[in-house]
Symmetry: C2
DNA sequence: CAGTGGTCTAGACCACACT
DNA sequence: GTGTGGTCTAGACCACTGC
């Protein structure tokens, strides 16, 4: 839309271009590197800001490459490279002929994008959807460890959820998860219980919180009495412990999750490259 | 090398360009899609062939973008896009000012690129290198299951290795691995025992076999008597079972590996995105 | 200095989706 | 047809490496 005068000057984009000025050594921190940042990285940063600010919400169509190029006063190719990287990071999704969209956990081919558990036999997740059951939901003040994982202070309000996921009628995953109270203000047991589909889709729709990446730490542990009871195994049965921290834009932690997986009929699948 | 006459015609590259001819519906299999393949994908394929053929070996410098562009009679940008993807797949490594190199498991910052086990406390792998001990090495005829995983026929010759990895003096990983006999002809216990560094580096240097990607399946299992003994834990102790198939170029399986990991002081780290 | 990869531009054309 | 992303080209200039 921004059809400013042609401004053929290739010298005055509205973006910083730390190089190609006079060397201008001032203003640098003690680091020796002048922090060269190519234009497309800056564009990427600007788009990221719009995503963080919620200007474009999950599922939204963002402006076309040509329009963004005009807006930022760079060439289409430069915008394209920025979007290429955001697309590779699963933040944006390109659809030829339609446009570029903000990635979302809803309306995606894969329902549970972060769940790596698969049935041993069937190749597909064609084992039908998981049955979810909330065992517990409460609002509490964060213990030290939870606070640390979520980047909060001890005592800050958090939500705690305990739930079970069953596949083909068999309880398979028991997990506790904690969410920071502020971004998820208003979360209720009803909301959780009534919701169909992936939990991260609910977070997007109700709270505008999109989980972008996650770190998991896996261990093999022995089932304690309570977990064993819930999962229908004997105490001491080996379970896969999965500890996850999920992050929104900007590497802000937004969920801490501890799961116990039965792996006698399922396995955790991982691709290395 | 192919320095053909200038041939300024932009119409006759030596590559197939399924489109932009007369529609030419002939020659297609029953599939409805005409299998459009952009030029840079074809270039990528050609480079891949050279890698598979061993024309450029791990660590080698490949020809410059400009030279490849000339050789393939396309623009530098097209070669660049092909190399971009190969680089994203960890098959090539670009180094500004120097050139583009074939990726390698030796001489890499990370010693064990496919090993996801980390100590619980220290963030880095600064726990010192792993101590390796070969427990068993033999040549045998592949049982059905091993053959299946390696894409061989039952009874084909394979090598079997059993070894233990210790971190800070503590036996932590017990693993069995199987290699197809043909590509690894001449492998001996001595070669394995004398070698320092990652096993995949040895495979590259001695056999020209580069592992490109791998699939892992994880389960929690109880230690049997023998494994428990070797790893210094009680029978029944929960262990992380890691089953891996590693592939060379072209998705050819080249190693099947079954590991048991102690996870009381370590964890398996995974990043989701 | 020359050679390499890295960035940026401008313009042409193709493939796809919608209307 | 129009508008979108996708491919391809050609050329300019920048940043890094090593001679």
């Amino acid at each position: 839309m921004v059809q400013n005068p042609p401004a053929p000057s290739l010298k005055t984009p509205e973006l910083d271009y730390p190089n190609s000025g006079s060397d201008a050594g001032a203003g640098l921190s003690s680091s020796g590197t002048p922090a060269f940042s190519p234009l497309y990285q800056q564009i990427k940063g600007l788009i990221l800001q719009s995503l963080q600010a919620g200007e474009w919400k999950p599922g939204d169509l963002i402006p076309s490459e040509l329009e963004l190029a005009g807006r930022f006063r760079v060439s289409q190719g430069t915008v394209r490279k920025a979007i290429d990287e955001l697309s590779a990071d699963n933040l944006l999704v390109r659809r030829q002929g339609k446009g570029t969209f903000v990635a979302t956990h809803s309306e995606q081919q894969v329902q549970y994008r972060f769940l790596r558990l698969e049935p041993d036999s069937c190749n597909r997740d064609t084992q039908g959807p998981a049955a979810r059951q909330i065992l517990d939901f409460r609002r509490l003040r964060a213990p030290a460890e939870i606070a640390r994982m979520l980047g909060l202070r001890s005592g800050d309000p958090v939500f705690e959820v305990r739930r079970v996921l069953s596949f083909q009628g068999l309880p398979t995953i028991l997990e506790d998860l904690w969410l920071p109270g502020n971004p998820f203000k208003g979360l209720s047991l009803e909301t959780l219980a009534n919701h169909q589909g992936a939990m991260y889709a609910l977070f997007e729709r109700q709270f505008g919180v999109r989980m972008v990446r996650a770190d998991e730490k896996l261990k093999a542990v022995a089932a304690d009495a309570e977990s064993a009871e819930t999962l229908g195994v004997a105490a001491g049965f080996p379970l896969l412990s999965v500890e996850r921290v999920a992050y929104t834009y900007n590497d802000t932690p937004m969920e801490y999750r501890r799961g116990l997986y039965r792996t006698d009929k399922h396995h955790y699948h991982n691709e290395l490259s």
